[in-house]
Symmetry: C2
Amino acid sequence: MDAKYQDLPHVVIVGSGFGGLNAARSLAKAPVRVTLVDRHNYHLFVPLLYQVATAGVSPDEIAYPLHAIFRGQKNLEIRLADVGSIDYAGKKLVTSAGDIPYDALILSAGSATNLFGMEAALDHALQLKDLEDAERVRNHILQQVELASQESDAEARCARLTFVIVGGGPTGVEISGALSELVRLVLDRDYHLDPADFKILLVEATGRLLEQFSPFLAGKTESALHKKGVEIRLNAHVTGFDGYNVTLKDGESIPARTLIWAAGVKANPLAGAAGSPTARQGRVKVLPTLQTPEHPEIFAIGDAAYIEQRGQMLPMLAQVAIQGGRHAARNVVRFLAGQPLQPFVYHDPGTLATIGRNQAVAHIAGLDLWGFPAWFVWVVVHIYQLIGHRNRILVMIEWIRDYLFYNSAVLIISKWEDRLDDAQTK
Amino acid sequence: MDAKYQDLPHVVIVGSGFGGLNAARSLAKAPVRVTLVDRHNYHLFVPLLYQVATAGVSPDEIAYPLHAIFRGQKNLEIRLADVGSIDYAGKKLVTSAGDIPYDALILSAGSATNLFGMEAALDHALQLKDLEDAERVRNHILQQVELASQESDAEARCARLTFVIVGGGPTGVEISGALSELVRLVLDRDYHLDPADFKILLVEATGRLLEQFSPFLAGKTESALHKKGVEIRLNAHVTGFDGYNVTLKDGESIPARTLIWAAGVKANPLAGAAGSPTARQGRVKVLPTLQTPEHPEIFAIGDAAYIEQRGQMLPMLAQVAIQGGRHAARNVVRFLAGQPLQPFVYHDPGTLATIGRNQAVAHIAGLDLWGFPAWFVWVVVHIYQLIGHRNRILVMIEWIRDYLFYNSAVLIISKWEDRLDDAQTK
């Protein structure tokens, strides 16, 4: 950072997800110096994480180096560190790379998987929150198919080919659809598995899928998944998974070697350290200005913040974080200048969820879309939102290749879990 | 595999590197059934491994799934397994996925890093033999530069920015050149490091670089590396590295946090299990027919095999393995049919080593090439040899982008070694 910025007020941003990234960019021309703190040196495009998990794209195609993003922004410094806590009195962030004093703090620490207290019972469940998780899911799925092809015992083979996905929200729907296409359209050419051995089970605790969408679109989604061979269990609760059997609340036990937990998220625990009470999902309650009530110099946005508008909590979506990040940046500048702050108003640009080839659901401008039109919108929006020309071009190539030739990009087991003798252990 | 192949003689191939891959492909139309055994589910294009290590290409761009390669080959089965030993009497391979009986065996297990008995002293050295190694090197380099930028102590900063590469063969030269370009042309834009802090040291035990090439080309290479700021130490022997200091045989100690060992390879220890005496580098001595003298049904090729031609040992090169694989396949068929076997004759197509942008050395058809012409040949040959259109197109895009914009592909620290508090520990 140039020396001329040293005396300006210091804005510290925690997290380089959609919220933190947009807050940081919006402060490019503001009379402040900015430190962006993250434990990774890249911005992760989370909406496509499920495609890394299902071999559709390569991990580095959805990650973009922070230094490259902010190369032109002279008032910004990047600090790789784990954040430990916030010292309100001393106005400093306590991190693994030392204390970082701030004049204003924007907390955009994102979310973590919510296992609802079942951590011990779900010790063997796979998650999907970061790049390592996603690569682990891909390796695990490919490994199970590989081992199933070597397995002579029919029961053991079926268990390896049973994939249980918990959570009927967009992530659960996306994984189920993509996994079905990966196994039936791609892997089956190499392994010639008996379709009867193979099962994808989508388990949802409520009475329907995709509660963000209309019942009509939820119905469209159910029938599309059904056609893909995905079995949907509504009003079902998973209570445990020991790596061999998934247990449901009603006592049923399903032999399966894979459980992917997409049933809930909660704010990153750091939100609780913001010195203000937390609400649902551990999100910190903020004022309409995005400030925490107790510490006006601390702002919270995105998944970390609990905000109600028209009596409804704003959901944990990229768009909420993006708009919140931009608004927090403007309010931070006003705050530091002693000017009155503006309340945040979220403009819903619409909601999208994809199911598979030529199939998605969307609610845009009050209209319900489904099938090819919704899918086309989804593809364009996601390519457009990716950061960097390299990633846009590469993801486009992967998708066109996959679309035309049914050839998934990354069928590589980069790390074998439990080494190869796993086949003999069961 | 189709049932009609079940009664054919069984050829088992160990290893899916250049040798095993080409042997397997050459047996496509032969009256045999083939089992290809490897611990990975992909063929690795080793010549570009150093580019993964220096952020030039993505790991999955140089790995190609074995199942995709052999999709059309009906007489071949792939078995993912760790090979334990060979049971000569019972004619079976003992693996982590069970015993595999064979009628003929082609041993193409490749090579491993040779630390010449200094394993304990070089415990902290980085290697470059597989995809995990290469990603670890990339993460480590990016991490050191990141931590150096946070380091206020000048000595500690210099140690983080000192990269010692051991071995003046093609791999050592390639890493040195690529690392210099990564740090000086790419990372420096983001970190603005003092060039005086930064050091790449290439240490070679003999009196010159690239002993495979003429002294003239070795001289060209030395001056090209010198211009890139690489310091070359000839006749120097590294005897230890504890993670903080590199020690040389003459007693000198060089503060450095990175040592990359490219000074030697030896045959995979499995070669020693072939039941025949081993020669230099642990390679198994074979007859001109590529058979082991003691067990005519066991063939060895590539890095695993010791073969002399015109009084010279064939080197551990991709081309030797490729031609050996094809020849072993033909001889295996003759052996199983009771026909006389043919001796293997290696045709040297030339040797290439790259130094960096527009710079390589080559010895082709008796001619020494250097500079841009050699580099252009190198680029074309390597793109051409990559397997699969996806990988060719993607690597081409990465290289064009890097060439035009000095923008390395994968500046992602996918895994932070020793976590972030490393900065405080030293």
